[in-house]
């Protein structure tokens, strides 16, 4: 006897909004509606394809990489892309393809860890601030303001100067430079969730604030968190590349896309691929993360995550 309302179509009460549109606009949207769905599917396809490629590179570099990324070959320097070196070689004769593949492991691993760390910390702080309000909220938001005001690069300079280079420190820096975004968004979600009847009823049933936050607020911001985190990956990858470019991130001999771009600066005219290849791969990674994030947002958008 229980029917699934998930399958039911747009409820009637949504109709009135659309009546105010002049008919020309509606015609355009009518045409666009079907084309847009195709376009979205293509975007998703690209995102998934790129994502798979990059993840394979990151997880199985040994398998995919044709050469040792650090193998110097002074007789083979500055080779253009060819059959033996698909993406060319750099100024020390190292194979670009192999370097890019090994570089992806670091970039993606670091980005993933940083996003998760920032996300969890930011979300917990944000929902607590949003639900509790008052002093807790003020303190948390001022902290977030500080984080947003400090450019990541300055932060990295200071921290690296203080605690030195290492992958862990890099992840720490990237997380610290990034959590406020999560805190802000999940805080406003928590604020609106606080008004919902089921939160009030839990409170009236005698639930403690901790319980309400953990059982009622956090699960309902999960979708937002996923979308934010996915979109964040692209940002962190670029941030990491920036830091490596400036020499503050991953240190040689570990290959890193940012450092590779930095290396290639002097050779732009003679061997554009030393900058170009890591740059394009970087673009591809960010593009994939963003398209995936967009698709997830469409799928998990508020109207669906409430699923009523």
């Amino acid at each position: 006897m229980l029917t699934s309302t998930r399958e039911s179509v747009m409820p009637e009460d949504k109709m009135p909004e659309l009546i105010q549109m002049p008919s020309e606009t509606r015609l355009v949207l009518q045409v666009g509606y079907h084309k847009r769905r195709w376009f979205n599917l293509i975007q998703l396809g690209i995102a998934v394809f790129l994502g798979i490629v990059l993840l394979s590179m990151a997880l199985l570099p040994g398998l995919l990489s044709p050469y040792d990324p650090n193998a110097i070959s002074l007789s083979n320097t500055l080779q253009a892309p060819s059959a033996t070196h698909l993406l060319g070689t750099d100024q020390l004769g190292r194979d670009m393809l192999s370097r890019v593949i090994w570089g992806s492991q670091v970039s993606i691993f670091v980005a993933f860890c940083a996003v998760v760390l920032a996300g969890i910390f930011g979300t917990l702080l944000g929902v607590t601030a949003g639900y509790m309000g008052g002093v807790v909220d003020s303190i948390a938001m001022r902290m977030a303001d500080i984080q947003l005001a400090l450019p990541a690069v300055i932060l990295a300079l200071v921290l690296v100067g203080a605690i030195g280079f290492s992958i862990f420190n890099l992840i720490l820096v990237l997380s610290l430079a990034n959590w406020a975004r999560f805190a802000r968004v999940t805080r406003s979600e928590a604020l609106s969730l606080r008004q919902r009847d089921f939160v009030l009823l839990a409170h009236l049933a005698g639930a403690s604030s901790m319980r309400i936050i953990w059982r009622h607020i956090v699960p309902n911001v999960a979708n937002t968190f996923i979308v934010l985190a996915t979109l964040d990956v692209g940002i962190i990858i670029i941030l990491e590349a920036t830091l490596s470019f400036l020499g503050l991130g991953v240190q040689p001999p570990t290959p890193s896309w940012g450092a590779m771009i930095a290396d290639g600066r002097g050779y732009l005219e003679r061997a554009w691929w030393i900058c170009g290849v890591p740059g394009l791969v970087l673009m591809g990674a960010v593009l994939s993360a963003n398209l995936l994030g967009d698709a997830l947002r469409d799928r998990l958008s508020p109207s669906m995550s409430q699923a009523w």
Binding site: M1, L2, T3, S4, T5, R6, R196, D197, F198, L200, L201, A202, H203, L204, A205, G206, A207, R211, R215, H216, P219, N220, A222, S305, Q306, A307, W308
Partner: protein, 333 residues
């Protein structure tokens, strides 16, 4: 000793208008007194701004009153400490209007229903909890497998049943029903109302029913109180309210409720409900009342006993039942 006794309840909010405006007082509930007998239903009727939802919130202990006392089953709410209040919440349970907002969309029905039991540690283990959930699902007419579903798989009526099941878990004695069927389809309303009635008989529950719909209130309640701008205009047994209403506002409400009801209400009030922040002087209804006199604007009528069990707040109550109601239309200035 009545089961629920409310004496001179008041709730004032301080509303600040705009960024720099000074705070203005809003008397949502302006001195309200009534009683409930155990096992009966008291219906609060009113339109927007009447304060009925605020009264509900005060009795549910969602907010504390600015003044006045609420005594439920012999316990004065204000005199309880936190620990006692926490325990007492088991006895007083709310059912709210919006079935789509009342259930956590990410929790399964079974967990939603047993949450109050878990909070109060009422049952020893998972097995006992599962048993209780099955009992409750039966009680409200839902199938056993509903426990593993999510809210979005249920219709509005089914969700409201889940809300009711949740309240029954901790064996309450008093339930506050705030517009329990207003958001439901017409053919489902009757199902839920009948369910509530049956539960009341079976479990000896006392209900405070809040609604804007006089027909629903008449069906469910033994006694009815009519609210306007935070005060009672009339309180009487259902029969008296429906057939012998004396207050002009009650009569206007009856008139607004439909032809097939069989009551030839010809009176129409003009104008709209004033903002509770700017209540009229004297009797709050006087600007719209077709029978208003000078005294109504200057002197506020107190709720007084007209007959046994029939209370009214109107200076001219004795004259009104003798008046024939005529169609009046007055421009509201």
């Amino acid at each position: 000793m009545p089961f629920v006794q409310v004496k001179d309840l008041r709730k004032t909010y301080q509303i600040r208008r705009g960024l720099f405006g000074r705070a203005q007082a809003l008397d949502a509930v302006a001195g309200v007194s009534f009683e409930l007998e155990q096992g009966s239903t008291f219906g609060l009727v009113g339109e927007s701004g009447s304060g009925k939802s605020t009264i509900a919130k005060l009795l549910m202990m969602a907010e504390s009153p600015s003044a006045g006392t609420v005594t439920i089953n012999g316990r004065n709410l204000a005199s309880m400490n936190e620990r006692e209040k926490h325990d007492f919440r088991k006895q007083v349970q709310p059912v709210l209007q919006d079935p789509y907002s009342a259930l956590n969309p990410r929790m399964r029905i079974g967990r939603i229903i047993d949450e109050p039991l878990r909070i109060h540690k009422a049952l020893p283990d998972e097995a006992a909890l599962n048993l209780r959930v099955s009992e409750l699902l039966d009680l409200v007419g839902l199938p056993r497998d509903a426990g593993s579903r999510f809210p979005h798989e249920l219709s509005g009526g089914q969700r409201q049943r889940v809300s009711i099941a949740r309240t029954l878990g901790v064996n309450p004695s008093f339930m506050i029903l705030d517009e329990p069927v207003s958001a439901l389809d017409v053919s489902i309303q009757a199902q839920i109302l009948n369910l509530l009635k049956d539960l009341q008989d079976k479990l000896k529950l006392t209900y405070l029913l809040i609604s804007h719909d006089l027909a629903v209130v008449a069906y469910m309640s033994q006694r009815v109180g009519v609210l306007y701008l935070g005060q009672f205009m009339e309180i009487a047994d259902t029969e008296d309210i429906v057939s012998h209403a004396r207050h002009p506002y009650t009569q206007a409400l009856l008139a607004s409720v439909n032809a097939r009801s069989g009551i030839e209400g010809t009176m129409e009030v003009s104008g709209e409900i004033p903002s509770p922040m700017n209540p009229p002087s004297g009797c709050p209804f006087h600007p719209r009342c077709p029978m208003a006199q000078e005294r109504c604007a200057s002197e506020k009528p107190m709720l007084r006993k007209l007959e046994s069990r029939h209370w009214i707040a109107c200076h001219f109550a004795e004259e009104i039942s003798a008046l024939t109601l005529t169609t009046g239309e007055k421009y509201y200035v």
